[in-house]
Amino acid sequence: MTGATLRHAGWILRGNPLTGIAAAGVFMLTLVALFGPWIVPYDPIVSDVPQALMPPSAAHLAGTDQLGRDVFSRLIVAARLDLAIAVSAVGISFAIGAVIGAICGYAGGKLDRAVGRFVDVLMAFPLFVLAMAMVAALGNRVENIVIATAIINLPFYIRFARAEVNVRRNVGWVEAARACGDSHISVVLRFLLPNVLPAMAVQMSLNLGWAILNAAGLSFIGLGVKPPTPEWGIMVAEGARFISTGKWWLVAFPGLALMLTVLCFNLLGDGVRDILDPRMRT
């Protein structure tokens, strides 16, 4: 991170203002996730049955649900859980995937082939189906949504890190480090991984949106998050029962929240890629 990188970032932002907007959006989301429970007008859990199923109004910006709970308050409070699931899942799979991939790419041989086979098996599943089966097997809890989402992301990180390390394992500065007496572990950790990380960080920000959709999909089919916990996927699932009688706000607003969040992460990911890795620009 030098002056040149910052200048380059500034140039990218001027050329593509969407990245700036997306960054602001993600910042806002983070604030909402951190302070959500303190800024909402109503309690997201307590029901108020006489007010049930009211359309959006000045008092209830996004209407009320079947128990009279304020949809807007629930949306705000849900941000924390949704973001926490996605960020921790992607973080776990990034950390594990980078290390496994780097070791395989550096060591090669039997270990590399064995891990490659395992990755092949994971990739032979439709990933959402795999996540579904894993949440059911590990137990129907939020932590397991995180684990399942992390595991279905793992193959991409392993492959990515493996390929990036593999092309660098015999370059001059790696040989130099080895000639100076560095151990293999130290070569991988101190020289190879840091060179691979920026490209992987891009992968990570592009992945976050996908992870959010996945987690929401899992809770929509009744896995992981349980009512009355506010979470966007489960809010859609609860609202689904009322859609054919025209209660659109129960589905539309959580849907909108999901869409905007994913959009911000995707645009930010594209922007970060342009800044960090000019080779991959499209």
Partner: protein
């Protein structure tokens, strides 16, 4: 031509052989996963909460749960080899029977969605590539950016709201046909084809109206990656020498675009279509739930939530097999789209 076809088949054959270990891994992996499911299914399927110990023991024996896990795995592999996927405890039928009954519904939905996606994404991508930077190009990009952000279950529900509740154009969004409608004699299991074969056009129209909304909501999610790759790949091929040559000798523009540019740009689109198909197999679960579609995914979901091992195993195995077959088809299409692939 024959030689090229033979080479394609050989390639597909070797791809199939190399995918067998992965498929075997899938088998073992699914087995282990399902054995980790919480709760004792023997207790679950006993007559009631106060069922006697002996009764539970009988069910346990009946399900093979009293044997050690490795032996259960060997038995399971042996059964799968004979085409026996076990019996569903909820429906009481063989899993293979259940899956065979329900698979056509899922496939009809998925293929229709893929067709809708391809038919709209390829022209959109081509149009965007023909006029880069134009209103169409920006429109397509905006649509793509938004398309990947809306979850399938949300777009499905919103389609129901607009077309069923507001406009009244769509029928009640549950199932494949109206409960009171008469079904055509089942030949293929695909209702649209069966109705056509029976010559029942009113029935065809009714089935089509049931199918269009779920297919559309599934398609919306995958149009974006397809259109984006078509655009990128068309831009490359439109800028190439052979297109410039074709232009300079004065060929009609549609021939340049379709015969020369698009044919050369189609390979990456096929690759992405294969990947997208896997996404759609997953999205099936969500869409089938939203539209109460009687397919394999909703069957597996019900089984999953009542810890019924066999159907879930069968479903995951089926999905992985479908995915392997799709990859083979992609390989064969490669050879047909670009004969150069098979050489070397």
């Amino acid at each position: 031509m024959m030689a090229a076809f033979g080479a394609t088949m050989t390639r597909a054959g070797s791809r199939f052989l190399s995918s067998l270990p992965a498929l075997f891994g899938v088998l073992v992996f699914t087995f282990v996963l399902m054995r980790m499911l919480p709760g004792d299914p023997a207790v679950f399927f006993a007559s009631g909460p106060n069922a006697g110990k002996e009764e539970i023991e009988v069910i346990r024996k009946q399900m093979g749960l009293n044997k050690p896990v490795p032996e259960q795995l060997m038995l399971y592999l042996y059964d799968v080899g004979r085409g026996n996927l076990g019996r569903s405890m909820t429906t009481g039928q063989l899993v293979t029977t259940d899956l065979r009954e329900r698979l056509p519904a899922s496939l009809e939905l998925t293929f229709t969605a893929l067709l809708i996606a391809l038919v709209s994404a390829v022209p959109l991508g081509v149009l965007a590539a023909l006029r880069p930077g134009s209103v169409i190009d920006h429109g397509v990009r905006l649509f793509c950016a938004l398309g990947v952000c809306v979850p399938t279950f949300v777009s499905g529900l919103l389609l129901i709201y607009v077309f069923y509740y507001l406009l009244g154009l769509a029928p009640d969004p549950t199932g494949r046909v109206d409960i009171f409608a008469s079904l055509p004699p089942s030949r293929t299991g695909f209702l649209l084809i069966d109705f056509l074969l029976a010559g029942d056009f009113d029935g065809w129209w009714a089935a089509f109206r049931q199918l269009i909304l779920p297919a559309l909501s599934m398609a919306l999610f995958v149009i974006a990656p397809l259109a984006r790759i078509t655009r990128a790949s068309m831009l490359v091929s439109l800028g190439s020498d052979f297109v410039r040559t074709a232009r300079s000798v004065g060929l009609p523009w549609w021939q340049i675009v379709v015969t020369y540019a698009l044919r050369n740009a189609i390979l990456p689109v096929i690759t992405i279509a294969g990947i997208v198909f896997s996404t759609m197999l997953g999205a099936n679960v969500l869409v089938e739930k939203v539209f109460s579609w009687p397919g394999v995914a909703s069957y597996a979901l019900d089984a999953l939530l009542s810890s019924d091992y066999a159907p879930v195993q069968g479903f995951v195995l089926l999905m992985a097999s479908v995915f392997v077959i799709v990859n083979l088809v992609v390989d064969i299409l490669y050879g047909i789209a670009d004969p150069r692939v098979t050489i070397g």
